[in-house]
Symmetry: none
Subunit: 220 residues, 4 copies
């Protein structure tokens, strides 16, 4: 693993554990046993590191939320895929969600990338919902697709912040994020096709069980 990648990985880890504001570039360097100068050889900036992390984040979003089309999209496996992806992104980049505005407003270039990714994501989500409508899994009135997409994005975007504000401990657990996944499912519940009720119940059960797990297992 190259130094450049090790820096990104260490920064991500420390940001997630301690909050981006509390992690200095010197901390990252010390954590890796390299010199601060070396860190600045690979990255022009602290923000530059965050850009690289954001890139990973964006790639995950793109890969994970490319709409599956055709009958395959009706299978339960697809639901697990999307919901696990939501969890993964919330957990892996929780520092980003926890400090979204600080990070974005400090760096307009990153902010623009973020907005582009969000737009793209919205398009994908809408396509996805329409596909699920077509596959008779969901039944969302057309004019509600847009606001629902927005609500979903908003809940996912601020679930980490919301939960962090609920506890004196700034760190969040995986359990709390699975709760967020279950909440997303709840938002979709009114639109599930009647005969998909059992399927929904099973999914819901699955994530609620994970939300009850005290340890931090990762769904595979």
């Amino acid at each position: 693993m190259k130094t450049k990648d090790r820096i990104v990985a260490a920064a991500l880890q420390l940001f997630n554990e301690q909050g981006e504001a509390n992690v200095t570039t010197n901390h990252i360097a010390a954590h890796l046993g390299i010199s601060p100068g070396n860190l600045y050889y690979h990255f022009r900036n602290k923000n530059d590191i965050i850009h690289r992390i954001f890139q990973q984040y964006a790639e995950h979003l793109r890969k994970s939320f490319t709409p599956v089309t055709g009958p395959a999209s009706a299978s339960p496996a697809v639901w697990f895929h999307y919901l696990d992806a939501i969890f993964y992104v919330m957990w892996e980049f929780r520092f980003f969600y926890a400090n979204l505005n600080d990070i974005l407003h400090r760096d307009p270039e990153l902010h623009k990338k973020y907005l582009a990714v969000q737009r793209e994501l919205a398009v994908n989500l809408q396509a996805l919902l329409r596909e699920l409508n077509a596959q008779q899994v969901l039944a969302i009135p057309d004019q509600e697709i847009d606001p629902l997409t927005q609500t979903l994005k908003m809940v996912v975007s601020f679930w980490v912040s919301y939960q962090s504000a609920q506890s004196l401990d700034p760190r969040i657990s995986q359990a709390v994020l699975y709760e967020g996944v279950a909440r997303v499912l709840l938002l979709l519940k009114p639109y599930f096709h009647p005969e998909k009720g059992a399927e929904l119940a099973k999914l819901s059960e699955h994530y609620q069980a994970l939300a009850r797990t005290p340890s931090d297992p990762f769904h595979k």
Copy 2:
């Protein structure tokens, strides 16, 4: 106006305009034309000032969301009252919403007060929704009252952050917050009694109109 109050007012204004993290105690003092020492004569801390602002915030919440009981709660005036209160609190303390976690996790004492206020608010909101159920204005199934309360709180709590993240300009307009009020109404829409449809439409119209207003008028 006493110096102590002028400090609180100036701090609130500057925090809202520039973000709490970017406003130093010296900035506040300079903005008022007083010495830093004088500021520290009236407040022990920067946090002490924030505590005072939070107190104002909490008082507004308490006063504004004390549930109205009896037939009066069915009048449209009550809706205007509550929705305007939501707007007021989001606008007047937007710096707080925009930096919620930073502020809370830096000051555990404040965090405890915040959690207490939130609990109290949840109780009041639930009582309010039940009363509106009783008055046949809403028809929320009992087991949905709690999750709905949570969702409402979450949307209000992070609307400012959410909207801030959507724009390159960190400052948010009143219009955007009226949009948030309209969104709250939207969350309640499914539960409105059928014959209250017209009333709802009127309310919705009102706030959507405000959300379209480019200048910053304030509903009275």
Copy 3:
């Protein structure tokens, strides 16, 4: 009791309890329930207060160490008088002994007064020792009177500091100061007339007993 005197008394108490450097003029005023302005109405300075305390200190020294002359000086009561006076002055003005150099070098005027008092004290002590020589209580060779005086003064002057440095707790107990009194007696021991041995033993016993007392009684 006049405000002026109350200020001096409060300052002395707080200085002794918490150390002069840790007691601000505002502390003193708050402790008395008066305004800082009022304190400065009565005293030009924090140093001015210390001057007043020093004056009390100097008066005690003068009164207590005026040499008793004639056969009376041979009585044990005289010894108790002098040794109790040493204890009193160490206890009552322990903040002064604990911060001697800080206080003196910050205020040359006070320093001059201090040096004058010390010179006067040295003269008195020497006269006293000579009288005790004359009364056949002590037998100090003439050329040793001066160095002995100096040693006595030095031990008394820095006993408080010395003991404070021996303990992690900056506060000193009365017991520890009685130990200092016993130490003074020890310095004189070699010069006691052989037949005064019993008397010396009794004195020594007395102060060593007090040094063992855990509570803080005051000898009268």
Copy 4:
């Protein structure tokens, strides 16, 4: 000379010249022509610098007062060694002696180290005195060894403070410290073996001469 060492040396010099309390970290940095940030790159704290100085102090004490055993301890050279060491430590770390209690009570960790060093020193001094007894240089009754050790330590510890209080100028001269060395010798005088009188006189003469020297030579 490395920057780290230069900082320690400059701090020691400025502390000795102006008193520890009057020397800020910025003063030290400015005096060396380096940035305050650089100083904090090498030391976490002002206290951290003092810890480093204390370490040097402790090392000197340990090295210099390791008891010499055997007949060698009877030679005059040994006396010069010990008395010069006393002088050196009083001179080189005079700021420490001048502000002992301020420095110790502000930093409990340092205070503990200090007490440990003092205990070790007491043990060494007692061993040394016993060896000199064995070598027939001194004749100290066994039960007087402990109090004598204490007195020696106390005189050395507070000689700097004592002398500083005697003069309006807070700075102390080397001459005055040589006087302190002579005083130490005086305390031992009663216990010198009769036939060592000439030797003692020579030693005493030596340090008294240095105490009379206005310039600041250093015995080698």
